[in-house]
């Protein structure tokens, strides 16, 4: 009787522990997915901003046709990109072309003094920041989730119920930081 009670007690404790660990894993994975979708939200924001920016700059710098075309092309290839690798490449391209757009605008003092342009510049800086912070947050949540799938004892529950570690979003850090500094 007594051994049965003890065994039963241990079983109950084990089951509760497993449920708690499982739920912890589910929550961590949910945070990762949510963080990933946040990146997309911010990327879309940037796409929406670009046509407006190009139009404003065009009004002052009509002769820089090539730069405008590059930006528009890079934007289009970002939207149609498939898979993480291709997406990252297209995003880098877009960042580069935007940089050259702002470099060109340096030559037009009237443009630089334009309130609308200044507002757009701030919006773009903010959007670039939002993207990199969203990625950073994705990596933070992924680190937390991956640690859970590898740490004892949650790793037992994780491997039994198919929680696999996620990939980090890796991009050249130096490149990212430069993108943030568009404003100066």
């Amino acid at each position: 009787m007594v051994p049965a009670l003890i065994l039963g007690g241990i079983a109950v404790v084990l089951i509760i522990a497993c449920v708690v660990m499982y739920n912890g894993l589910v929550n961590a994975r949910m945070r990762v997915k949510n963080a990933w979708s946040q990146i997309d939200v911010q990327l879309k924001r940037r796409y929406d901003l670009i046509p407006n920016l190009v139009e404003t700059v065009k009004g002052y710098a009509k002769h820089e046709q090539e730069v405008f075309e590059n930006v528009t092309k890079a934007r289009a290839s970002c939207i149609s990109a498939q898979g993480v690798g291709e997406q990252a490449k297209a995003e880098n391209m877009l960042t580069k072309t935007l940089k050259s757009l702002f470099a060109v605008s340096e030559n037009y003092p009237e443009l630089k003094a334009n309130e609308n342009f200044k507002a757009l510049q701030e919006e773009l800086t903010a959007t670039e920041n939002r993207i990199s912070f969203a990625r950073q947050h994705y990596n933070d949540t992924t680190m937390d989730y991956n640690a859970k799938t590898e740490r004892v004892p949650t790793n037992i529950v994780a491997s039994l119920s198919g929680f696999k570690p996620r990939e980090f979003f890796e991009i050249e850090l130096a490149e990212e930081r430069e993108a943030v500094k568009v404003q100066f």
């Binding site: 939002r130 912070f133 949540t141 850090l173 404003q183």
Partner: protein, 308 residues
């Protein structure tokens, strides 16, 4: 990387210790004061009711009250796009909802955060902060405030405020009663008052308890500032921004008019300048600013090495 998590864990332990110590202080004070004026349990009950009422009011109306007391007005994105963007960026980096943004029209640069949890939170900055800092420095300051929100420091600060307020109220009430009403009553109705030793103990406690409460709170408040600086860097990955901001804020000579002793602990840098000279004393709500900057500079080296 481990430093953020280590500090956060020890911060959590300390916070619990503080809540327990404060509760004990409040219960004991309530009981002894009750004992001195008739019944210990009545005193205890009054202490708990007072604390509960203040806690409920500040839990649900806290942001509004604090903002009104600091003469802060809520703003929209159209009015201050850059400030709004920076707050949103930091909310994204922390993975928290966007807090409400308030502005205080005062040329002294400073900022604070308040609220009950990340879903009901607010940050306030002065207009002086906006005009004196560049974007990266502003980002550092907002990251510091966002860290207070994320670490639940805002709720904790509110809880502490409530407990200290209740203890102070209770002691104040008792002292007044003892000096104006208590004496006469004791002569006519000796049984209702407590033993003289207990009355003396109660008076001593009523004078000392608010002081104790304050000292405990301040010790932890200082640690929280270091932690918020560290996790601000975790958010921006750019220690130079916050370091530059702290340098500018601390070298600024202007005085923030709307700040007072009740709200001083919330600000990023202590707004009461006369206290600055005594920054290392037991009664300061903030650690010495040069020490905070030094720690940030150390982190900056860390990040440089990583990138090199």
């Amino acid at each position: 990387m481990a430093t953020f998590y280590d500090e956060m864990a020890s911060n959590k332990r300390l916070s619990w210790l503080l809540v327990v110590a404060m509760t004990a202080l409040m219960v004991i004070t309530g009981y002894v004061i009750g004992l001195a004026s008739g019944s210990g349990w009545t005193g205890l009950a009054i202490a708990c009711v007072v604390a509960l009422v203040i806690a409920l009011v500040s839990y649900y109306q806290g942001v509004g009250i604090v903002m009104a007391a600091s003469r802060a007005g809520r703003i929209s994105k159209q009015e201050y796009p850059q400030l709004f963007n920076v707050v949103e960026e930091m909310a994204i980096a922390a993975g928290k909802p966007m807090p409400d943004v308030y502005i205080i029209h005062d040329s002294a640069p400073n900022a604070f955060a308040t609220g009950r949890d990340p879903q009901h939170s607010a940050v306030a900055v002065t207009s002086g902060l906006l005009s004196k800092l560049n974007r990266n420095e502003l980002q550092g300051v907002i990251a510091h405030e966002m860290s207070h929100i994320r670490n639940f420091d805002i709720r904790f600060a509110m809880l502490m405020g409530v407990m200290i307020g209740s203890i102070a109220l209770l002691c104040d009430f008792f002292l007044r009663m003892a000096f104006y009403g208590g004496m006469g009553r004791r002569r006519s109705n000796d049984r209702r008052g407590g033993h003289p030793a207990i009355i003396i103990l109660a008076i001593a406690l009523a004078i000392l308890a608010p002081l104790f409460a304050k000292i405990i709170q301040l010790a932890v408040s200082r640690r929280r500032e270091y932690l918020a600086d560290a996790s601000a860097v975790e958010l921006t990955r750019y220690p130079q921004g916050l370091a530059g901001a702290l340098q500018k804020i601390s070298s600024d000579q202007e005085v923030l008019e709307a700040a007072n002793r009740a709200t001083q602990h919330m600000y990023i840098v202590n707004p009461i300048k006369s206290l600055k000279a005594k920054a290392q004393s037991m009664f300061s709500t903030h650690p010495p600013i040069q020490d905070r900057i030094r720690r940030l500079d150390e982190m900056a080296h860390l990040y440089d090495d990583e990138r090199a």
